[in-house]
């Protein structure tokens, strides 16, 4: 936290148990205003729990959290006013039209009269829902329903957006539309966005990625730094001779991480690229060898499955 402007999201040892099961162990975040932060991890890792804690819909078992300086337990009303939420499943009333859904959401956010009408009109325009505004929401495709969700979450112009898998199940066109809207919100209003996703490429532009596994933070850094931790490049090696080659690469001292996959190995290469290529091309029993830049997917597998250096 710096100066007079509080950080957008701060959590200190934030955790939550369900009975004897620890769903979220201890999450520490310090997210400055305007940042884009990706929360990644397998199903059941604690992402949704973390988001619901920040959204004031769950109470922490331990630790605490603040949104724009407001405590999520002691100042729920202030936190809720500052937040725009998109849940994992769409929150759309199929019996209402698109516009009625947004009017309902605007009123829930405390808007009325002219402010409500302006907010709804703005949200419809930003999400490109104009031609569909009078249509019953049940007639919308999954993509447009999700855009309606995004329009709903942003219509009261919140400073912080918490988005739980906002693009899950959508085609690339609608995913692109959603990320364009969110990018505009960040650019024009410096909105802070915390999102979860299983499409790891969506987290590449994030300022920071927090990777959860079984309720614990297993990685927390900028995407580039996380990728560098895996290795500058990753060699995908398949075939009966793969294990022998990996041993040889280890002997070369060029290996940052090794991950066993269903079909072979993913080896993070930290240096000696030319030597690695020479050794790999000369190796027997290799059916597939591909050297490519490291990705967040490599980080994901290395950190959630465990990797040996």
């Amino acid at each position: 936290m710096s100066g007079s402007t509080p950080a957008a999201i701060v959590t200190e040892g934030l955790g939550r148990d369900y009975g004897s099961v620890r769903a979220l162990d201890a999450l520490d975040l310090d997210v400055p205003a305007g940042a884009l932060v990706g929360l990644l991890g397998p199903n059941g890792a604690g992402k949704t729990t973390a988001m619901l804690l920040l959204a004031t819909l769950l109470r922490p078992t331990r630790g605490n959290a603040r949104i724009l300086g407001h405590h999520v337990v002691g100042a729920r009303g202030s936190v809720r006013r500052a937040l725009g939420l998109v849940f994992q499943e769409t929150s759309v009333d199929g019996l209402l039209t698109v516009e009625e859904n947004l009017r309902f959401a605007a009123r829930l956010a405390g808007l009325g009269g002219g402010r409500m009408r302006d907010a709804v009109a703005g949200a419809i325009e930003r999400a490109g829902l104009g031609p569909r505004s009078g249509q019953p929401a049940r007639q919308l495709s999954g993509g447009w329903r999700r855009l309606l969700d995004i329009a709903r979450a942003t219509l009261h112009r919140p400073d912080v957006l918490i988005l739980d898998e906002p693009t899950v199940g959508l085609d690339p066109e609608h995913r692109e539309l959603i990320w364009t809207i969110l990018a505009t919100e960040r650019r024009e209003r410096r909105v802070t966005i915390l999102f979860s996703t299983h499409y790891l490429a969506e987290a590449e532009p994030a300022d920071r990625v927090v990777l959860l596994s079984r309720g614990r933070v297993v990685a927390d850094d900028a995407p580039a730094a996380l990728r560098a931790g895996v290795g500058a490049e990753v060699a995908e090696i398949e075939g009966p001779g793969a294990e022998r080659l990996v041993r040889a690469l280890r002997g070369l001292g060029a290996v940052a991480t090794v991950l066993r996959t269903e079909r072979g190995y993913r080896v993070g290469i930290s240096r000696e690229r030319e030597a690695v290529m020479e050794l790999s091309l000369a190796a027997a029993g290799i059916e597939r060898l591909q050297l490519r830049p490291a990705s967040l997917e490599d980080v994901y597998f290395a950190r959630t499955r465990g990797a040996g250096a």
Binding site: R16, D17, Y18, G19, V21, A23, N43, G44, G46, T48, T49, L52, A55, T56, L57, L58, R59, R76, G77, R80, R81, L83, L85, F87, Q88, E89, T90, S91, D93, L95, L96, E100, R103, F104, A105, A106, R107, L108, A109, G110, L111, G112, M116
Partner: protein, 273 residues
């Protein structure tokens, strides 16, 4: 202003939804008239109520309350659909808070009950001797009956986790409330156990109040009816507010949730974690 706008939004939404569910709306209006026709006419031939009142005149206040009870309670219990489809979570996450959400839902459900009961009540001059003043008093009594039914419906909905239980609730909650209330037969003739149940049944006092308003002899005083119904409403609202809190923190709900369903613990239906 935040709470007020939220209440207006919830009422507007619920009423819009109700008017678009035409079969449910039609059923709510037709049901009491079918009871009047089938039960009222049939029993009129064989039953005489103490005081010489024809059965159809005796049963009329009960049928008015029945229309309001079903309309208000079913609209309120439909909250379980909102829980299932994520809309309840949206409301609970709003700055307005649980009391505003409950107030909005209760007003909407009560209005539906009032309209459905009011349609039956409008036929009062055809069924019972009634003055305009009595009719006006009956509208007031009906409003109280609808409001208390709505809050009871919300209390039921607070404990329902899935729409599959919806039909069961009608059989297990609504019909017993109606049958053990003096709506269809005087509580005086009931066996002691049923009579005791009728005494603790809020619908008994709804029927009694409407009966008083329509100029018929009631079992309790108007004052007692009013006190019981107002106390029922206050306690139902308070208890429902605790139960609707996403964490149900006063009732030990937090520790019972599984990690596979954090969203269920947060006021939504089943969802992956």
């Amino acid at each position: 202003m935040t709470a007020w706008n939220a209440i207006v939004g919830i009422v507007a939404r619920d009423l819009a939804r109700t008017t678009r569910q035409t079969s449910r709306l039609l059923g709510g209006v037709v049901r009491p008239f079918m009871w009047l026709l089938l039960v009222g006419t049939g029993y009129n031939a064989i039953a005489r109520v103490e005081g010489g009142l024809p059965y159809h005149a005796f049963v009329f206040p009960g049928i008015v309350v029945m229309a309001a009870l079903f309309g208000a309670m079913l609209t309120a219990i439909a909250t379980v659909y909102d829980r299932e489809f994520g809309m309840l979570r949206l409301m609970l996450a709003s700055p307005a808070g649980v009391p505003a959400v409950l107030t909005g839902r209760a007003i909407a459900a009560a209005l539906v009950g009032l309209v459905q009961g009011g349609i039956v009540l409008a036929c009062a001059p055809l069924m019972v001797p009634v003055t305009p003043g009595e009719l006006g008093a009956a509208v007031g009594a009906l409003a109280l009956a609808a409001a208390s039914s709505a809050l009871l419906g919300l209390l039921v909905a607070a404990r329902l986790r899935s729409v599959e239980n919806f039909a069961g609730v009608i059989n297990v909650v609504l019909f017993p409330l109606l049958f053990v209330s003096g709506a269809l037969y005087p509580t005086a003739g009931m066996p002691p156990v049923l009579r005791l149940l009728a005494t603790v049944n809020p619908v008994t006092y709804q029927v009694d109040l409407v009966r008083h308003a329509l100029g018929q002899a009631g079992e309790f005083t108007v004052g007692k009816d009013l006190i019981v119904l107002l106390c029922t409403m206050a306690s139902a609202f308070g208890l429902t507010a605790l139960l609707f809190d996403p964490e149900q923190r006063f009732l030990g709900g937090t520790s019972q949730r599984t990690p596979e369903a954090p969203e269920a613990a947060a006021g939504a239906g089943p969802a992956p974690g």
